[in-house]
C-alpha cells in the first residue's frame, strides 16, 4: 500500500465512521433534522450536500495559495454560495419535484457549517486530491446518516420507504398504523439520539 492510499483510506474511515460529521461532530444538524422526514427528501438533500462539498473543497484547495488569510472567510462564503446557487438553478430546471420538496433547505446548504468547516479545517491546507477524498468521505458520511434517519422516520411514521407524491414506494404497513411523532420534529431528535447511542455502543 502506498502512503497516499493509506491516507485516503484513513480519510474515508474518518468521514464515514470515526469522525462522522453527523454522528460525531454533530455538524449541519438543522437540515439533518428538518429534511429527514422521508427517505426521498433525505437522499435528495444528502446528494446535494455531497456535490456542494466536493466542488467547494476542490475550489478552496485549488486556490488555497490565493486565499489570503484576511479575506479567506468571505471567499469561502462566496464559493459555497455560488455553487449552491448553481445547483439550485439546475435542480429547478431538471428536477422540479426534488426542488419543490426540498424547498428552502436547498439554498440553506450555504449555511451548513459542515461545508465551511471542511473548507477551513482541511481543504485550505491540503492538496487537491486529498481535499476531494475528504469531501467525498465527509459528504457520504453525512448522506448515509441523513438517509438512515429518513428511512427510519418514514418507516415508523408512515409504514413506507421511498414513497413520494407520485409513487407509493415500498409499502411495509398501512400509513394509518404509523406513529406520527416520528415524522414530527421531536421524532428527528429521538431517532438521532438513538443513532448516537448505537454508534457509541458499537465503538466500545
Amino acid at each position: 500500500m502506498t502512503p497516499s492510499t493509506a491516507t485516503h483510506n484513513k480519510l474515508l474511515l474518518a468521514g464515514l465512521w470515526s469522525d462522522n460529521p453527523a454522528l460525531v461532530k454533530l455538524l449541519g444538524l438543522c437540515p439533518l433534522l428538518a429534511v429527514s422526514n422521508t427517505a426521498i427528501n433525505a437522499l435528495g438533500l444528502g446528494i446535494a450536500t455531497l456535490i456542494t462539498l466536493v466542488i467547494s473543497n476542490t475550489m478552496v484547495s485549488v486556490f488555497r495559495h490565493h486565499l489570503l488569510p484576511a479575506i479567506r472567510i468571505p471567499l469561502y462564503v462566496l464559493i459555497i454560495a455560488s455553487v449552491v446557487t448553481c445547483i439550485e438553478l439546475i435542480t429547478q430546471a431538471w428536477l422540479p419535484q426534488l426542488h419543490r420538496s426540498l424547498g428552502i433547505f436547498l439554498p440553506l446548504i450555504v449555511t451548513n457549517c459542515l461545508i465551511m468547516g471542511r473548507a477551513e479545517a482541511f481543504a485550505s491546507r491540503q492538496s487537491v486530491k486529498a481535499a476531494i477524498v475528504d469531501a467525498i468521505a465527509m459528504g457520504l458520511g453525512f448522506l448515509l446518516v441523513l438517509l438512515l434517519l429518513g428511512i427510519t422516520r418514514e418507516l415508523i411514521g408512515m409504514g413506507s420507504v421511498f414513497a413520494d407524491a407520485s409513487q407509493s414506494g415500498i409499502k411495509v404497513f398501512d400509513a394509518e398504523y404509523g406513529i406520527l411523532i416520528a415524522l414530527l420534529p421531536p421524532g428527528a431528535f429521538f431517532i438521532l439520539a438513538a443513532l448516537l447511542i448505537a454508534k457509541r455502543k458499537l465503538d466500545k
Binding site: 488569510p69 484576511a70 462566496l78 464559493i79 448553481c86 430546471a93 400509513a175 415524522l183
Partner: protein, 203 residues
C-alpha cells in the same frame, strides 16, 4: 502559520476578483438554465391545469392565457393569477391561483377551477407546510379529502354549507386537523364570491 498582516490593497483586489468570477459563473448558469426552467414551470402548470379541467371544456392553453392579479381580496387571501380557459375564443371560466394565510403552519397555495356557469370543477393543492400525518391529508396522494370539492354546483351551496360537518357545514372533517380544512374551505368559498363579482374583468 497564518500571517494576519493584511495588505489591504492586495486583499481588496483578490476579493473583488473572486466576486467578479462568482458573478460571471452564476450569471452564466442562470442564463443557460433559463429556458429549461421556464419550460419545466410551464409543463408542471399545464399538467395541473389539465388534471383540474374537463378535457372538453376548453381548447386553448390556459397556462398562456393568464392574467397576473396579485390582489388581496381579504386580509388572509391573495389571488395571485388567473388562468383563463376558453372554447372557440369565448372565456368559459378561470383557474385561480390563490394563497391563504389561514393555514396551521404557513401559507397554503391552491388552484381553484371555476366556470362562469357556477360550477367548481375542482381544487388542487400547489404548496403547503401543514402537519405531516394530520393536516397534510389535504394532499391528493394522502387522502381523498380534496375530491369532495370536485364538480360542485355553487348554487346548491348556501353560505352556511361552507364549513366542515361538525361546524354545521357540508364538508368532511379531517380527524386531528381543524384549522387546515377550515383554511381550504374558507379560501375556496371566498374565491368563488370574489370571482362571481369580478367575472367581467376576467375575460
Amino acid at each position: 502559520m497564518l500571517e494576519y498582516k493584511a495588505n489591504p490593497h492586495k486583499s481588496g483586489l483578490r476579493l473583488s476578483l473572486g466576486v467578479a468570477t462568482a458573478v460571471v459563473v452564476t450569471a452564466l448558469v442562470f442564463a443557460i438554465t433559463k429556458q429549461q426552467r421556464e419550460t419545466t414551470k410551464q409543463r408542471l402548470l399545464s399538467r395541473q391545469l389539465t388534471a383540474l379541467l374537463p378535457t372538453d371544456a376548453y381548447d386553448n392553453n390556459p397556462a398562456i392565457d393568464s392574467i397576473q392579479l396579485n390582489k388581496e381580496i381579504s386580509n388572509n387571501l391573495l389571488v395571485n393569477q388567473a388562468y383563463l380557459y376558453k372554447k372557440a375564443n369565448t372565456t368559459q371560466g378561470a383557474v385561480l391561483h390563490v394563497t391563504t394565510s389561514q393555514g396551521y403552519s404557513g401559507d397554503i397555495e391552491l388552484l381553484i377551477a371555476l366556470s362562469q356557469h357556477n360550477w367548481i370543477h375542482g381544487v388542487a393543492l400547489v404548496a403547503h407546510s401543514e402537519t405531516p400525518g394530520l393536516g397534510d391529508k389535504i394532499e391528493q396522494g394522502r387522502s381523498d379529502w380534496l375530491m369532495q370539492l370536485r364538480n360542485l354546483k355553487t348554487e346548491s351551496l348556501p353560505a352556511s354549507a361552507w364549513a366542515v360537518k361538525k361546524e354545521g357545514g357540508q364538508f368532511d372533517q379531517i380527524t386531528g386537523a381543524t384549522i387546515t380544512p377550515r383554511a381550504v374551505i374558507n379560501a375556496v368559498s371566498d374565491t368563488i364570491n370574489w370571482y362571481s363579482l369580478n367575472v367581467q374583468s376576467l375575460q
